[in-house]
Protein backbone atom coordinates (compact mmCIF):
# COMPACT_ATOMS: atom_id res chain seq x y z
CA UNK A 1 0.00 0.00 0.00
CA UNK A 2 1.15 3.52 -0.62
CA UNK A 3 -0.33 6.97 -0.80
CA UNK A 4 0.91 9.18 -3.57
CA UNK A 5 0.21 12.89 -3.30
CA UNK A 6 1.00 15.72 -5.69
CA UNK A 7 -1.15 18.82 -5.88
CA UNK A 8 -1.16 22.58 -6.11
CA UNK A 9 -3.59 24.89 -4.40
CA UNK A 10 -3.61 28.65 -4.07
CA UNK A 11 -4.76 30.50 -0.98
CA UNK A 12 -4.50 34.22 -0.43
CA UNK A 13 -1.03 34.47 1.13
CA UNK A 14 -0.02 30.83 0.67
CA UNK A 15 0.58 28.80 -2.47
CA UNK A 16 0.73 25.10 -1.84
CA UNK A 17 2.78 22.85 -4.06
CA UNK A 18 2.91 19.55 -2.25
CA UNK A 19 4.29 16.21 -3.42
CA UNK A 20 5.26 13.15 -1.40
CA UNK A 21 4.82 9.41 -1.12
CA UNK A 22 3.68 7.75 2.07
CA UNK A 23 4.71 4.09 2.32
CA UNK A 24 3.36 1.57 4.86
CA UNK A 25 3.68 2.67 8.47
CA UNK A 26 3.18 6.00 10.15
CA UNK A 27 4.08 8.96 7.97
CA UNK A 28 4.39 12.18 9.94
CA UNK A 29 3.64 15.46 8.19
CA UNK A 30 5.82 17.83 10.13
CA UNK A 31 6.12 21.60 9.97
CA UNK A 32 5.29 24.88 11.68
CA UNK A 33 1.72 26.12 12.06
CA UNK A 34 0.30 27.53 8.85
CA UNK A 35 2.67 25.65 6.53
CA UNK A 36 -0.20 23.80 4.86
CA UNK A 37 -0.25 20.47 6.73
CA UNK A 38 -3.96 20.51 7.49
CA UNK A 39 -4.80 21.70 4.00
CA UNK A 40 -2.81 18.79 2.64
CA UNK A 41 -4.73 16.16 4.60
CA UNK A 42 -8.03 17.89 3.84
CA UNK A 43 -7.19 17.57 0.15
CA UNK A 44 -6.35 13.88 0.69
CA UNK A 45 -9.59 13.27 2.60
CA UNK A 46 -11.68 15.12 0.01
CA UNK A 47 -12.72 18.01 2.25
CA UNK A 48 -10.92 20.46 -0.02
CA UNK A 49 -10.64 20.38 -3.80
CA UNK A 50 -7.13 21.33 -4.90
CA UNK A 51 -6.62 23.49 -7.98
CA UNK A 52 -4.77 20.69 -9.74
CA UNK A 53 -2.76 17.56 -9.17
CA UNK A 54 -3.19 13.86 -8.51
CA UNK A 55 -3.86 11.96 -5.32
CA UNK A 56 -3.94 8.17 -5.38
CA UNK A 57 -4.22 5.52 -2.71
CA UNK A 58 -3.03 2.03 -3.66
CA UNK A 59 -3.33 3.02 -7.30
CA UNK A 60 -6.96 4.07 -6.78
CA UNK A 61 -7.29 7.66 -8.02
CA UNK A 62 -8.98 9.89 -5.46
CA UNK A 63 -8.36 13.12 -7.34
CA UNK A 64 -6.80 14.03 -10.63
CA UNK A 65 -8.70 17.04 -11.92
CA UNK A 66 -11.23 14.91 -13.79
CA UNK A 67 -11.95 12.51 -10.97
CA UNK A 68 -12.77 14.00 -7.59
CA UNK A 69 -14.18 11.40 -5.22
CA UNK A 70 -16.46 12.68 -2.47
CA UNK A 71 -15.18 12.15 1.10
CA UNK A 72 -17.82 9.42 1.44
CA UNK A 73 -16.20 7.40 -1.36
CA UNK A 74 -12.56 7.74 -0.31
CA UNK A 75 -12.49 5.38 2.67
CA UNK A 76 -10.19 7.64 4.63
CA UNK A 77 -10.69 7.65 8.39
CA UNK A 78 -10.13 11.16 9.69
CA UNK A 79 -9.27 11.89 13.33
CA UNK A 80 -9.76 15.63 13.80
CA UNK A 81 -7.84 17.76 16.27
CA UNK A 82 -11.14 18.69 17.96
CA UNK A 83 -12.51 15.10 17.83
CA UNK A 84 -15.79 16.27 16.25
CA UNK A 85 -17.95 13.69 18.00
CA UNK A 86 -21.67 14.07 17.40
CA UNK A 87 -22.82 15.80 20.59
CA UNK A 88 -26.37 14.44 20.48
CA UNK A 89 -25.31 10.78 20.25
CA UNK A 90 -23.85 8.48 22.89
CA UNK A 91 -20.30 7.17 22.48
CA UNK A 92 -21.73 3.86 21.25
CA UNK A 93 -23.91 5.53 18.61
CA UNK A 94 -20.97 7.69 17.55
CA UNK A 95 -18.92 4.52 17.10
CA UNK A 96 -21.69 2.79 15.17
CA UNK A 97 -22.44 5.82 12.98
CA UNK A 98 -20.33 4.63 9.99
CA UNK A 99 -21.63 1.03 10.16
CA UNK A 100 -24.68 1.70 7.98
CA UNK A 101 -22.67 3.03 5.07
CA UNK A 102 -19.44 1.09 4.94
CA UNK A 103 -19.46 -2.55 4.10
CA UNK A 104 -17.34 -4.33 6.65
CA UNK A 105 -17.53 -1.37 9.02
CA UNK A 106 -18.55 -2.26 12.55
CA UNK A 107 -17.37 -5.85 12.09
CA UNK A 108 -14.52 -5.13 14.49
CA UNK A 109 -16.69 -3.26 17.01
CA UNK A 110 -15.86 -5.44 20.01
CA UNK A 111 -12.17 -5.65 19.17
CA UNK A 112 -11.76 -1.88 18.70
CA UNK A 113 -13.81 -1.05 21.80
CA UNK A 114 -11.52 -3.37 23.73
CA UNK A 115 -8.30 -2.10 22.16
CA UNK A 116 -9.15 1.52 23.01
CA UNK A 117 -10.80 0.61 26.35
CA UNK A 118 -14.05 2.33 25.35
CA UNK A 119 -16.34 -0.17 27.10
CA UNK A 120 -17.07 1.95 30.19
CA UNK A 121 -17.78 5.01 28.03
CA UNK A 122 -20.32 3.50 25.63
CA UNK A 123 -23.44 4.99 27.19
CA UNK A 124 -21.88 8.40 27.93
CA UNK A 125 -22.42 11.54 25.86
CA UNK A 126 -19.43 13.42 24.40
CA UNK A 127 -20.03 16.45 26.65
CA UNK A 128 -19.24 14.31 29.71
CA UNK A 129 -15.94 12.91 28.35
CA UNK A 130 -12.45 14.20 29.10
CA UNK A 131 -10.30 15.43 26.20
CA UNK A 132 -8.39 12.15 26.10
CA UNK A 133 -11.57 10.06 26.16
CA UNK A 134 -12.99 12.15 23.32
CA UNK A 135 -9.90 11.54 21.18
CA UNK A 136 -9.97 7.80 21.92
CA UNK A 137 -13.62 7.71 20.85
CA UNK A 138 -12.80 9.69 17.71
CA UNK A 139 -9.99 7.25 16.87
CA UNK A 140 -12.36 4.33 17.42
CA UNK A 141 -15.03 5.89 15.24
CA UNK A 142 -12.54 6.53 12.40
CA UNK A 143 -11.26 2.93 12.63
CA UNK A 144 -14.83 1.59 12.56
CA UNK A 145 -15.47 3.29 9.22
CA UNK A 146 -13.37 0.52 7.62
CA UNK A 147 -10.74 2.95 6.28
CA UNK A 148 -7.99 2.20 3.78
CA UNK A 149 -5.94 5.03 5.31
CA UNK A 150 -6.12 6.80 8.63
CA UNK A 151 -5.30 10.51 8.75
CA UNK A 152 -4.81 12.27 12.07
CA UNK A 153 -4.66 16.05 12.34
CA UNK A 154 -2.65 16.86 15.46
CA UNK A 155 -4.86 14.59 17.57
CA UNK A 156 -2.92 15.49 20.72
CA UNK A 157 -2.53 19.24 20.19
CA UNK A 158 -5.64 20.17 22.17
CA UNK A 159 -4.67 17.99 25.15
CA UNK A 160 -2.52 18.85 28.17
CA UNK A 161 0.65 16.88 28.84
CA UNK A 162 -0.89 14.26 31.12
CA UNK A 163 -3.69 13.59 28.62
CA UNK A 164 -1.09 13.35 25.85
CA UNK A 165 0.76 10.76 27.89
CA UNK A 166 -2.54 8.91 28.32
CA UNK A 167 -3.29 8.78 24.57
CA UNK A 168 0.21 8.09 23.26
CA UNK A 169 0.28 4.36 24.17
CA UNK A 170 -3.02 3.89 22.27
CA UNK A 171 -1.51 5.47 19.18
CA UNK A 172 1.52 3.22 19.44
CA UNK A 173 -0.78 0.22 19.83
CA UNK A 174 -2.66 1.42 16.79
CA UNK A 175 0.56 1.59 14.78
CA UNK A 176 1.65 -1.86 15.89
CA UNK A 177 -1.66 -3.75 15.93
CA UNK A 178 -3.77 -2.29 13.15
CA UNK A 179 -2.40 -3.02 9.72
CA UNK A 180 -3.27 0.39 8.41
CA UNK A 181 -1.19 3.16 6.89
CA UNK A 182 -1.40 6.29 8.99
CA UNK A 183 -0.75 9.90 8.03
CA UNK A 184 -0.04 11.87 11.16
CA UNK A 185 0.08 15.68 11.17
CA UNK A 186 2.17 17.18 13.93
CA UNK A 187 4.44 20.02 14.89
CA UNK A 188 5.77 18.21 17.94
CA UNK A 189 9.16 16.48 17.64
CA UNK A 190 8.58 14.13 20.61
CA UNK A 191 5.32 12.84 19.07
CA UNK A 192 6.97 12.31 15.72
CA UNK A 193 9.90 10.46 17.31
CA UNK A 194 7.62 8.08 19.15
CA UNK A 195 5.24 7.32 16.32
CA UNK A 196 6.64 7.99 12.88
CA UNK A 197 8.47 5.69 10.52
CA UNK A 198 8.54 8.16 7.64
CA UNK A 199 8.91 11.92 7.93
CA UNK A 200 7.65 14.55 5.50
CA UNK A 201 8.96 18.03 6.31
CA UNK A 202 6.85 20.96 5.17
CA UNK A 203 7.53 24.66 5.07
CA UNK A 204 5.47 27.49 3.59
CA UNK A 205 3.35 25.24 1.42
CA UNK A 206 6.22 23.07 0.12
CA UNK A 207 7.58 19.68 1.03
CA UNK A 208 11.25 20.37 1.76
CA UNK A 209 12.34 16.79 2.48
CA UNK A 210 10.85 13.39 3.00
CA UNK A 211 12.25 9.99 3.83
CA UNK A 212 12.72 7.42 6.59
CA UNK A 213 12.74 9.00 10.04
CA UNK A 214 16.32 7.87 10.83
CA UNK A 215 17.71 9.38 7.63
CA UNK A 216 16.02 12.73 8.15
CA UNK A 217 17.07 12.92 11.80
CA UNK A 218 20.71 12.27 10.97
CA UNK A 219 20.86 14.92 8.25
CA UNK A 220 22.60 18.04 9.61
CA UNK A 221 21.07 20.27 6.92
CA UNK A 222 17.55 19.46 8.16
CA UNK A 223 18.31 20.08 11.83
CA UNK A 224 17.10 23.72 11.72
CA UNK A 225 13.65 22.59 10.57
CA UNK A 226 13.29 20.20 13.48
CA UNK A 227 14.73 22.65 16.00
CA UNK A 228 18.43 22.79 17.03
CA UNK A 229 17.80 21.28 20.47
CA UNK A 230 16.21 18.21 18.89
CA UNK A 231 19.05 17.54 16.43
CA UNK A 232 20.44 14.06 16.85
CA UNK A 233 20.26 10.52 15.58
CA UNK A 234 17.81 7.71 16.20
CA UNK A 235 19.52 4.34 16.64
CA UNK A 236 17.93 0.90 16.64
CA UNK A 237 19.38 -1.38 19.29
CA UNK A 238 18.93 -4.99 20.38
CA UNK A 239 19.42 -5.93 24.02
CA UNK A 240 22.26 -8.48 24.35
CA UNK A 241 22.31 -8.91 28.08
CA UNK A 242 22.97 -7.45 31.51
CA UNK A 243 26.34 -6.65 33.00
CA UNK A 244 27.06 -7.77 36.58
CA UNK A 245 26.74 -4.15 37.75
CA UNK A 246 23.24 -3.87 36.25
CA UNK A 247 24.12 -2.03 33.08
CA UNK A 248 22.45 -3.05 29.88
CA UNK A 249 24.57 -4.23 26.96
CA UNK A 250 23.03 -3.52 23.53
CA UNK A 251 24.08 -4.15 19.95
CA UNK A 252 23.66 -1.37 17.39
CA UNK A 253 24.76 -0.71 13.84
CA UNK A 254 27.30 1.70 15.35
CA UNK A 255 28.79 -0.95 17.62
CA UNK A 256 28.15 -2.23 21.17
CA UNK A 257 26.86 0.28 23.73
CA UNK A 258 26.12 0.30 27.45
CA UNK A 259 22.94 1.76 28.88
CA UNK A 260 22.07 2.72 32.41
CA UNK A 261 18.80 2.55 34.31
CA UNK A 262 16.86 0.88 31.52
CA UNK A 263 14.51 -2.02 32.12
CA UNK A 264 14.55 -4.38 29.17
CA UNK A 265 14.73 -8.10 28.50
CA UNK A 266 17.41 -9.80 26.46
CA UNK A 267 16.50 -9.78 22.76
CA UNK A 268 14.20 -6.76 23.09
CA UNK A 269 14.36 -4.05 20.41
CA UNK A 270 14.97 -0.51 21.61
CA UNK A 271 14.98 2.87 19.89
CA UNK A 272 17.80 5.06 21.20
CA UNK A 273 18.00 8.78 20.84
CA UNK A 274 21.49 10.31 20.77
CA UNK A 275 21.18 14.09 20.74
CA UNK A 276 23.89 16.01 18.88
CA UNK A 277 24.81 18.10 21.94
CA UNK A 278 25.40 14.91 23.94
CA UNK A 279 28.20 13.81 21.58
CA UNK A 280 31.84 14.96 21.90
CA UNK A 281 34.43 14.30 19.21
CA UNK A 282 38.05 13.38 19.69
CA UNK A 283 40.67 12.74 16.99
CA UNK A 284 42.79 10.52 19.28
CA UNK A 285 41.53 7.52 21.23
CA UNK A 286 40.37 9.18 24.45
CA UNK A 287 41.71 7.89 27.75
CA UNK A 288 40.65 8.29 31.32
CA UNK A 289 37.10 9.30 30.50
CA UNK A 290 34.02 8.70 32.59
CA UNK A 291 31.93 8.25 29.43
CA UNK A 292 31.37 4.56 28.68
CA UNK A 293 30.29 4.72 25.07
CA UNK A 294 33.20 5.70 22.86
CA UNK A 295 32.72 4.70 19.25
CA UNK A 296 35.07 4.99 16.28
CA UNK A 297 33.54 7.15 13.55
CA UNK A 298 34.24 8.86 10.24
CA UNK A 299 33.18 12.42 9.35
CA UNK A 300 30.72 12.58 6.44
CA UNK A 301 29.91 16.26 6.30
CA UNK A 302 29.86 19.41 8.40
CA UNK A 303 26.93 21.81 8.28
CA UNK A 304 25.84 24.60 10.57
CA UNK A 305 27.76 23.50 13.68
CA UNK A 306 26.72 19.89 13.22
CA UNK A 307 29.04 17.11 12.16
CA UNK A 308 27.48 14.10 10.49
CA UNK A 309 29.32 10.90 11.29
CA UNK A 310 29.14 7.41 9.97
CA UNK A 311 29.68 4.51 12.34
CA UNK A 312 29.39 1.31 10.35
CA UNK A 313 25.95 1.65 8.77
CA UNK A 314 24.74 4.08 11.39
CA UNK A 315 24.61 7.84 10.91
CA UNK A 316 24.99 10.13 13.90
CA UNK A 317 25.22 13.87 14.60
CA UNK A 318 27.60 15.74 16.88
CA UNK A 319 27.36 19.39 17.80
CA UNK A 320 30.72 21.20 17.68
CA UNK A 321 31.92 24.79 17.46
CA UNK A 322 33.47 26.12 14.24
CA UNK A 323 36.75 26.50 16.16
CA UNK A 324 36.81 22.78 17.02
CA UNK A 325 36.06 21.89 13.40
CA UNK A 326 39.08 24.02 12.48
CA UNK A 327 41.56 22.83 15.13
CA UNK A 328 40.58 19.14 14.92
CA UNK A 329 40.49 19.21 11.13
CA UNK A 330 37.05 17.64 10.95
CA UNK A 331 36.83 17.41 7.18
CA UNK A 332 34.88 14.74 5.29
CA UNK A 333 36.67 11.40 5.59
CA UNK A 334 38.48 12.31 8.83
CA UNK A 335 38.59 9.47 11.37
CA UNK A 336 37.64 10.31 14.95
CA UNK A 337 35.99 8.98 18.08
CA UNK A 338 32.44 9.83 19.13
CA UNK A 339 32.10 10.11 22.88
CA UNK A 340 28.43 9.68 23.74
CA UNK A 341 27.67 11.42 27.04
CA UNK A 342 24.10 10.23 27.35
CA UNK A 343 21.55 8.13 25.52
CA UNK A 344 17.82 8.21 26.03
CA UNK A 345 15.55 5.30 25.24
CA UNK A 346 12.32 6.11 23.40
CA UNK A 347 9.34 4.31 24.89
CA UNK A 348 7.78 1.85 22.50
Amino acid sequence: MSLSVAFRHGFPGLDLDVAFEAPVGVTALFGPSGCGKSTTINAIAGLLRPDSGRIALDGRVLFDGRTNLAPQERRIGYVFQDARLFPHLTVERNLRYPARWRRGAGRDFDRIVEMLALGPLLQRRPATLSGGEKQRTAIGRALLSDPALLVMDEPLAALDDSRKAEIMPWLERLRDEVRLPILYVSHSVPEVLRLATTLVLMQRGRVTHSGPLETILADPRLAPELGAREAGALIHATVEGHEPDGMLRVRTAAGPMLLQEVEAATGQELRLRVLAHEVILSRDPPQGLSALNVLPATVVQVSGGLVQLTLGDQRMLAQVTPRSVETLGLTPGAACFAIVKSVSVLPS
Binding site: G46, F80, Y97, P98
Partner: protein, 230 residues
Protein backbone atom coordinates in the same frame (compact mmCIF):
# COMPACT_ATOMS: atom_id res chain seq x y z
CA UNK B 1 -68.81 24.40 33.78
CA UNK B 2 -66.92 23.24 30.75
CA UNK B 3 -64.97 25.50 28.43
CA UNK B 4 -67.61 25.10 25.71
CA UNK B 5 -70.36 26.26 28.13
CA UNK B 6 -68.32 29.21 29.37
CA UNK B 7 -67.85 30.39 25.80
CA UNK B 8 -70.84 31.16 23.59
CA UNK B 9 -71.21 29.09 20.40
CA UNK B 10 -69.84 31.86 18.17
CA UNK B 11 -66.88 32.43 20.51
CA UNK B 12 -66.16 28.71 20.71
CA UNK B 13 -66.33 28.50 16.91
CA UNK B 14 -63.78 31.29 16.60
CA UNK B 15 -61.38 29.65 19.07
CA UNK B 16 -61.64 26.24 17.40
CA UNK B 17 -61.21 27.76 13.95
CA UNK B 18 -58.20 29.81 15.01
CA UNK B 19 -56.51 26.74 16.53
CA UNK B 20 -57.15 24.76 13.37
CA UNK B 21 -56.04 27.56 11.05
CA UNK B 22 -52.85 28.22 13.05
CA UNK B 23 -51.94 24.57 13.43
CA UNK B 24 -52.42 23.85 9.71
CA UNK B 25 -50.61 27.05 8.73
CA UNK B 26 -47.63 26.21 10.98
CA UNK B 27 -47.31 22.54 10.08
CA UNK B 28 -47.81 23.07 6.35
CA UNK B 29 -45.27 25.87 6.09
CA UNK B 30 -42.63 24.33 8.40
CA UNK B 31 -40.96 22.19 5.68
CA UNK B 32 -40.87 25.14 3.27
CA UNK B 33 -39.56 27.48 5.96
CA UNK B 34 -36.83 24.93 6.78
CA UNK B 35 -35.89 24.59 3.11
CA UNK B 36 -35.73 28.37 2.57
CA UNK B 37 -33.78 28.82 5.82
CA UNK B 38 -31.29 26.20 4.63
CA UNK B 39 -30.90 27.96 1.27
CA UNK B 40 -30.34 31.32 2.95
CA UNK B 41 -27.98 29.99 5.64
CA UNK B 42 -25.91 27.48 3.71
CA UNK B 43 -25.97 28.31 0.00
CA UNK B 44 -24.69 31.24 -1.95
CA UNK B 45 -26.35 31.77 -5.32
CA UNK B 46 -27.37 34.67 -7.54
CA UNK B 47 -30.61 36.10 -6.18
CA UNK B 48 -29.78 35.22 -2.55
CA UNK B 49 -30.57 38.77 -1.45
CA UNK B 50 -33.72 38.89 -3.57
CA UNK B 51 -35.05 35.65 -2.05
CA UNK B 52 -34.33 36.95 1.42
CA UNK B 53 -36.17 40.16 0.55
CA UNK B 54 -39.26 38.35 -0.79
CA UNK B 55 -39.40 36.08 2.27
CA UNK B 56 -39.27 39.10 4.58
CA UNK B 57 -41.82 41.12 2.60
CA UNK B 58 -44.88 40.12 4.71
CA UNK B 59 -43.02 41.35 7.80
CA UNK B 60 -42.50 44.80 6.31
CA UNK B 61 -45.64 45.35 4.21
CA UNK B 62 -48.86 46.55 5.89
CA UNK B 63 -50.90 43.34 6.51
CA UNK B 64 -53.77 44.85 4.56
CA UNK B 65 -51.53 45.05 1.51
CA UNK B 66 -50.48 41.41 1.89
CA UNK B 67 -54.13 40.44 2.25
CA UNK B 68 -55.08 42.39 -0.85
CA UNK B 69 -52.21 40.84 -2.84
CA UNK B 70 -53.42 37.39 -1.73
CA UNK B 71 -56.95 38.30 -2.77
CA UNK B 72 -56.00 39.33 -6.29
CA UNK B 73 -53.65 36.35 -6.69
CA UNK B 74 -55.53 33.52 -4.97
CA UNK B 75 -59.09 34.86 -5.40
CA UNK B 76 -61.34 32.79 -7.70
CA UNK B 77 -60.68 35.30 -10.51
CA UNK B 78 -56.98 35.62 -9.68
CA UNK B 79 -54.19 34.06 -11.81
CA UNK B 80 -53.39 31.32 -9.27
CA UNK B 81 -56.88 30.98 -7.79
CA UNK B 82 -58.51 30.41 -11.20
CA UNK B 83 -55.94 27.66 -11.94
CA UNK B 84 -56.53 25.89 -8.64
CA UNK B 85 -60.33 26.13 -8.73
CA UNK B 86 -60.83 23.24 -11.25
CA UNK B 87 -58.69 21.09 -8.91
CA UNK B 88 -61.13 21.76 -6.10
CA UNK B 89 -58.72 24.00 -4.20
CA UNK B 90 -60.40 27.25 -3.19
CA UNK B 91 -58.89 29.78 -0.79
CA UNK B 92 -61.18 32.79 -1.12
CA UNK B 93 -63.56 33.21 1.83
CA UNK B 94 -62.73 29.75 3.18
CA UNK B 95 -60.86 28.68 6.31
CA UNK B 96 -58.10 27.41 4.00
CA UNK B 97 -57.62 31.01 2.87
CA UNK B 98 -57.29 32.08 6.49
CA UNK B 99 -54.63 29.38 6.91
CA UNK B 100 -52.81 30.59 3.77
CA UNK B 101 -52.84 34.19 5.01
CA UNK B 102 -51.61 33.10 8.46
CA UNK B 103 -48.87 30.96 6.92
CA UNK B 104 -47.62 33.79 4.69
CA UNK B 105 -47.59 36.24 7.57
CA UNK B 106 -45.83 33.78 9.92
CA UNK B 107 -43.33 32.61 7.28
CA UNK B 108 -40.61 35.28 7.75
CA UNK B 109 -40.57 34.76 11.52
CA UNK B 110 -40.21 31.00 11.11
CA UNK B 111 -37.49 31.35 8.48
CA UNK B 112 -35.51 33.75 10.67
CA UNK B 113 -35.62 31.48 13.71
CA UNK B 114 -34.74 28.32 11.76
CA UNK B 115 -31.99 30.06 9.82
CA UNK B 116 -30.27 30.93 13.10
CA UNK B 117 -30.43 27.22 13.94
CA UNK B 118 -28.69 26.27 10.68
CA UNK B 119 -26.00 28.85 11.29
CA UNK B 120 -25.41 27.46 14.79
CA UNK B 121 -24.74 23.90 13.58
CA UNK B 122 -21.01 23.43 13.05
CA UNK B 123 -20.40 22.38 9.42
CA UNK B 124 -17.30 20.59 10.71
CA UNK B 125 -19.57 17.95 12.24
CA UNK B 126 -21.18 17.42 8.85
CA UNK B 127 -17.70 17.08 7.30
CA UNK B 128 -16.84 14.47 9.92
CA UNK B 129 -20.00 12.54 9.04
CA UNK B 130 -19.03 12.68 5.35
CA UNK B 131 -15.62 11.11 6.06
CA UNK B 132 -17.49 8.30 7.84
CA UNK B 133 -19.33 7.46 4.63
CA UNK B 134 -22.78 8.94 5.29
CA UNK B 135 -24.59 10.41 2.25
CA UNK B 136 -25.58 14.07 2.44
CA UNK B 137 -29.30 13.48 2.97
CA UNK B 138 -28.51 11.10 5.82
CA UNK B 139 -26.13 13.63 7.38
CA UNK B 140 -28.88 16.23 7.23
CA UNK B 141 -31.36 13.90 8.91
CA UNK B 142 -29.05 12.48 11.58
CA UNK B 143 -26.70 15.36 12.38
CA UNK B 144 -27.97 18.73 11.16
CA UNK B 145 -31.67 18.36 11.94
CA UNK B 146 -31.33 16.92 15.48
CA UNK B 147 -28.79 19.59 16.42
CA UNK B 148 -31.07 22.43 15.31
CA UNK B 149 -34.28 21.00 16.75
CA UNK B 150 -34.51 23.77 19.39
CA UNK B 151 -34.43 26.38 16.61
CA UNK B 152 -37.11 24.55 14.61
CA UNK B 153 -39.32 24.36 17.70
CA UNK B 154 -38.75 28.04 18.36
CA UNK B 155 -39.63 28.85 14.74
CA UNK B 156 -42.79 26.74 14.90
CA UNK B 157 -43.93 28.36 18.16
CA UNK B 158 -43.27 31.83 16.85
CA UNK B 159 -45.13 30.96 13.65
CA UNK B 160 -48.07 29.49 15.59
CA UNK B 161 -48.32 32.55 17.83
CA UNK B 162 -48.17 34.87 14.83
CA UNK B 163 -50.85 32.80 13.05
CA UNK B 164 -53.11 32.92 16.12
CA UNK B 165 -52.87 36.69 16.17
CA UNK B 166 -53.03 37.38 12.44
CA UNK B 167 -55.78 39.86 11.65
CA UNK B 168 -55.16 42.39 8.88
CA UNK B 169 -54.24 40.07 6.01
CA UNK B 170 -56.85 37.49 7.02
CA UNK B 171 -59.79 39.89 7.18
CA UNK B 172 -58.77 41.50 3.89
CA UNK B 173 -58.33 38.18 2.09
CA UNK B 174 -61.15 36.01 3.47
CA UNK B 175 -63.38 38.52 5.28
CA UNK B 176 -64.98 37.81 8.66
CA UNK B 177 -67.60 35.07 8.23
CA UNK B 178 -68.60 33.38 11.51
CA UNK B 179 -67.88 29.66 11.41
CA UNK B 180 -66.02 29.98 8.14
CA UNK B 181 -63.28 32.61 8.36
CA UNK B 182 -63.95 34.35 11.67
CA UNK B 183 -60.75 33.67 13.58
CA UNK B 184 -60.15 34.71 17.18
CA UNK B 185 -58.86 38.24 16.42
CA UNK B 186 -61.63 38.80 13.83
CA UNK B 187 -64.22 37.67 16.38
CA UNK B 188 -62.84 40.03 19.05
CA UNK B 189 -63.00 42.83 16.50
CA UNK B 190 -66.58 41.91 15.54
CA UNK B 191 -67.72 41.69 19.17
CA UNK B 192 -66.21 45.08 19.98
CA UNK B 193 -68.17 46.56 17.08
CA UNK B 194 -71.43 45.13 18.51
CA UNK B 195 -73.26 46.78 21.42
CA UNK B 196 -73.00 44.54 24.51
CA UNK B 197 -70.16 42.55 22.96
CA UNK B 198 -67.55 43.49 25.60
CA UNK B 199 -68.22 40.32 27.62
CA UNK B 200 -67.52 37.83 24.80
CA UNK B 201 -64.61 39.99 23.60
CA UNK B 202 -63.00 39.89 27.05
CA UNK B 203 -63.45 36.12 27.27
CA UNK B 204 -61.74 35.71 23.88
CA UNK B 205 -58.93 38.02 24.98
CA UNK B 206 -58.42 35.72 27.96
CA UNK B 207 -58.34 32.67 25.70
CA UNK B 208 -55.77 34.40 23.48
CA UNK B 209 -53.52 35.08 26.43
CA UNK B 210 -53.81 31.50 27.70
CA UNK B 211 -53.13 29.95 24.27
CA UNK B 212 -50.15 32.22 23.63
CA UNK B 213 -48.64 31.55 27.05
CA UNK B 214 -49.30 27.83 26.67
CA UNK B 215 -47.55 27.72 23.30
CA UNK B 216 -44.50 29.57 24.60
CA UNK B 217 -44.24 27.36 27.70
CA UNK B 218 -44.64 24.16 25.65
CA UNK B 219 -41.92 25.20 23.24
CA UNK B 220 -39.62 26.12 26.14
CA UNK B 221 -40.08 22.63 27.57
CA UNK B 222 -39.55 20.94 24.20
CA UNK B 223 -36.51 23.07 23.40
CA UNK B 224 -34.97 22.34 26.78
CA UNK B 225 -35.53 18.64 26.29
CA UNK B 226 -33.96 18.82 22.82
CA UNK B 227 -31.02 20.84 24.16
CA UNK B 228 -30.42 18.35 26.97
CA UNK B 229 -29.77 15.63 24.47
CA UNK B 230 -27.03 17.72 22.89
Amino acid sequence: MSLADWLGPQEWQAVALSLRVSLVATLASLPFATAIAWLLARRSFPGHGLLSGIVHLPLILPPVVTGYLLLITFGTQGPVGSLLKPLGIVFAFRWTGAALAAAIMAFPLMVRAIRLGFEAVDPKLEQAAATLGAPRVWIFATVTLPLMMPAILAGATLGFAKAMGEFGATITFVSNIPGQTQTLPSAIYAFLETPGGEGPALRLVLVSVVVAMGAVLLSEVLARRAAQRI
